[in-house]
Symmetry: D2
Amino acid sequence: MAAPETISIAQIGYGYWGTNLARNAAANPSLSLDLICDVSAENRARAAAAHPTARILADGAEVFADATIDAVIVVTPASTHAEICRRAIEAGKHVLVTKPLATTVADAAAVAALAAQHGRTLLIDHTFLYTPAVAFLKQALARGDLGKPLYYDSVRTGLGIFKSDVNIVDDLAIHDIAILEHLFEELPATVSATAAASFNGLRESLAYITLTYRDGLVAHLAAHWLSPLKQRQVVIAGDARMLAWDDSRVGERIRIFDSGITRTESAVVPGRADVTYRNGEVTVPALGDTEALAAEMADFVACIRTGSTPRASGQSGVRVMQIVAAAHRSAAQGGAPAAIEG
Amino acid sequence: MAAPETISIAQIGYGYWGTNLARNAAANPSLSLDLICDVSAENRARAAAAHPTARILADGAEVFADATIDAVIVVTPASTHAEICRRAIEAGKHVLVTKPLATTVADAAAVAALAAQHGRTLLIDHTFLYTPAVAFLKQALARGDLGKPLYYDSVRTGLGIFKSDVNIVDDLAIHDIAILEHLFEELPATVSATAAASFNGLRESLAYITLTYRDGLVAHLAAHWLSPLKQRQVVIAGDARMLAWDDSRVGERIRIFDSGITRTESAVVPGRADVTYRNGEVTVPALGDTEALAAEMADFVACIRTGSTPRASGQSGVRVMQIVAAAHRSAAQGGAPAAIEG
Amino acid sequence: MAAPETISIAQIGYGYWGTNLARNAAANPSLSLDLICDVSAENRARAAAAHPTARILADGAEVFADATIDAVIVVTPASTHAEICRRAIEAGKHVLVTKPLATTVADAAAVAALAAQHGRTLLIDHTFLYTPAVAFLKQALARGDLGKPLYYDSVRTGLGIFKSDVNIVDDLAIHDIAILEHLFEELPATVSATAAASFNGLRESLAYITLTYRDGLVAHLAAHWLSPLKQRQVVIAGDARMLAWDDSRVGERIRIFDSGITRTESAVVPGRADVTYRNGEVTVPALGDTEALAAEMADFVACIRTGSTPRASGQSGVRVMQIVAAAHRSAAQGGAPAAIEG
Amino acid sequence: MAAPETISIAQIGYGYWGTNLARNAAANPSLSLDLICDVSAENRARAAAAHPTARILADGAEVFADATIDAVIVVTPASTHAEICRRAIEAGKHVLVTKPLATTVADAAAVAALAAQHGRTLLIDHTFLYTPAVAFLKQALARGDLGKPLYYDSVRTGLGIFKSDVNIVDDLAIHDIAILEHLFEELPATVSATAAASFNGLRESLAYITLTYRDGLVAHLAAHWLSPLKQRQVVIAGDARMLAWDDSRVGERIRIFDSGITRTESAVVPGRADVTYRNGEVTVPALGDTEALAAEMADFVACIRTGSTPRASGQSGVRVMQIVAAAHRSAAQGGAPAAIEG
């Protein structure tokens, strides 16, 4: 049981990702991880070994009935998120839920509205928003380091875990959709997507998504569950500088290139544009080693205590789902551009 | 002047790429590089220094009038290709022309038809078709090494030379379009493309193109003239094995991964597909060091002598242009899928 | 307290590396981690949080007096190893001790002899010996995959933790010395070493060590605590094939190159040797994901139960120390080659 | 024949490297490449094709007799360098000779003295001294960017061309010896070397060389003709910053790391040195694309015209040979440190 000043927290779901969330919850001195639920006996055994002071239960419904629990971490299959969040909020709990918030825009919006109505903190585990890398990107764009942003190009591939209730867009491309929402704070004008299910009976395991924004910015996301190359690479090009974020280059994840083109008025070479090329210095900023989930837990605690809005708020989670839904609509129409719908 | 058994060849255009073609023509013992034309005095001076036994002229029209010239290499801006090829063929010359064959499908088809009518060899300089890497890909697919092909994913980026008469699709993405045409010998069912001109007054410098084929194969091409990363990477995934071709990894350009998924009937983990994952051996084949342009020149010579059809034939050049044209149409419609048109 | 069939284990020292050993001890179902000692209050707090069922004490001496403890893991500063091991063995405990076994050959030999005399298992935590990579190397050499081994070249660099009681040879180069001892099962004929203390008052932070073996094999170890590049790379060349083991290339740690030279009898190019060069296929074996410390704990348990000799035995630990001592002697003499001494 | 204001130059030897030197000589507007000699008919045919305006001869002795020749490029096997240089200088020619200047210190010194006596320019083709990378290193050290230099660590490996008249030290490690001489302008106090001939009847194909300098600087060179990895990497660490020069990373060859350690007075962790660690920003300077051999030819021309001393002078070539000779002596004594001898 938590001391008065600590927040008693329960977790529903203790699979691969849940293990990480529970570890970070336990490590936060303001949180007391008092209850863990999972339908799998194997997962419960792992939870008991790692968190011997927590109660371990099979049935998540106990969480809602337990008045001593202040907050809930939801790490269950995506199709169950909306319902579990609804019950937790109605039981007066604050909620941290893994992405996606829900599987439809309507469900996502309903959960966000319910949290607002009940005055409960709702934080979507868009983990990347809490990384030092994304914090750096946000600042660099705000400072105008890159000039006018021209494009955002992301590649996320590898031999990923095929899900059964969501596809590659909901599971992998959604990371970039959340990052785009956070960095540019603007909904795209159009979303075009191709998503292919390469195996009969399995969900779509590859997706290519193009987002266009009002000021000419283009974003493109390539996501694969089936690739021989583990790639986690984002390029953001501006008309002044360009930036590459490669999460696999530990210690030099972000590189800023003072490179690009300059328009010239000089005499032309036939067939060539009147530009000169600049290959300047490259800088690798020191980013620090903060674990994203620790920062996320700290944000959750702070918002529960002060009532402020999390960086990965319910409202941003709804906007992410609007973009995801547009991608699904476009993919269903063979890639024809789709607009954002409420 | 060429000896009777050698082929007297002229080259029109001696810019950056022309330098490479001329060097390879001069190195082929069956070709005698007797005439080089370029409108630029600087280029003519370079040509004279490198090829002191060739005549150097400003006006390419002299080529057509010179009856001693058997064949012509055309390395001029893309917008001039069709007209120069037409005049050369009508003057009885064999033609090797840098890509694209023309800037419209109609022009490309007319040149190819003219070459057939006059019995002249027409070879499009789709250089990649002559690399040991593409030869290996062709064989690997023919042998079924990968199983059923699922997708072809290409990324070609860097700080490229901005052209003024063609855009990134005609200039860079066309490489993969030619490779796809060569590897799969089938036109795509649909082509969806986004192409953006990031700078006012310059041509489109980024493109994302998705091609879908009848049997479920998806091809995707990302091409950038403005990127901090020089990337030349193609992934081809099959349901049995996967392959990565990274042209920047000298000595280990192609890697074959015995990796993928296997369907299972086993009890399910909630939210996960019933598959197991395989991360097996990786093999890097020894490819040999043949320079592509030397192989291309050899094909040109052989076809001139025997009347056989070049690997990069006029007909394949027309099909490449049909796909390029569909990409342009899709891009003009905001990315809506376009079909191939004659 | 451990059930009869489990082995009750204590750990002395809970710093950075101790955390990993304790985690793996706790995860082994045959071990019951019942006691952890550390002089640091902060480390004791971390131990208590991670291992809430273990007793946590400041004074390691309690371990020796506690008859319920069957085995001890020693993870203290190197200068204390021999004495702690001695007391543990004399108290009837089995011992797993982090490298180096001791700081002198005499001390190491005494500990190994004591363990033999008391019939206790002594395992030196030469962790690399338990990795899938080293297991593969051992098998590849045994099968003769490389032909006759010509050289072993290791580079271990980065911004490492400067120790105060041992230098870079005892701390980092010792990994390769243990691997060499394991792979080739032969003491080198000579050891030449340069070790430099780049900062006044700190221990030697760089070392270059060359080992020559009777059959012409040369081994070379470069080790740096102060380098901008994190490198963990070993090359083993044979006269038939060559092999690179790069621990930073996750998923393709080992590559086998079918490359080398072949002697020829052909006519000579002036100044060149009569050889031809072969750049053949590269193969990346699938290694599996076993954590080395888990395999080490399993070996410890098996040896305690059966009395068999651990892979990283006390005797091999003594031989490792003999090589380390020769390196120190050579370095003290400005790099002059030193022989192995008992 | 050269015009009065141009320098008429001959080249003796037209093998692999000679091709590059001749190309750069021909491209320098102040040089007229009028004569090329090679004993191989095949090389003469290649020379004639590439340099159709030069006379092509089998016998290099003709160069000495031809009074119209002002300067000679010597690209023959190393064992012939001293004699050919001597005859050329005595015939009044300026000389550019590939490394090594000679195969003994005495011969090297005699050639350098002869050039000085005759007032002829003598430039040793230590090509790296003319690269933008080494120019940057020289400036960075002069500015004190790294603080006090602590070590220079070089790795040059790959499947190299085995020579018959010189070994890996004379052929490959010599590059770093020349760079060290240029950067630090100081002879080492001791040189320790291991060189091994892995194949009967072939020269030593691997070498490890350690050089110690008076102020504590340590240099280490690892060189292999037989390695699966093509590596061209130099690390220079200072007590303020560190630098890596990787010639295989085109476009980011040099990286400067604002990383290292700082001494602290704080309370100790047992076994750890009292230091803190700094992992700061990394900077990749823009180096420019000048070809080294073009800069070398320009230096040769300027020195011939003005009488100034080339960057890669005869005297520096002698010092390089003194270090090389010390390495040979150490290797012959099983790696015992050797001093520099006149």
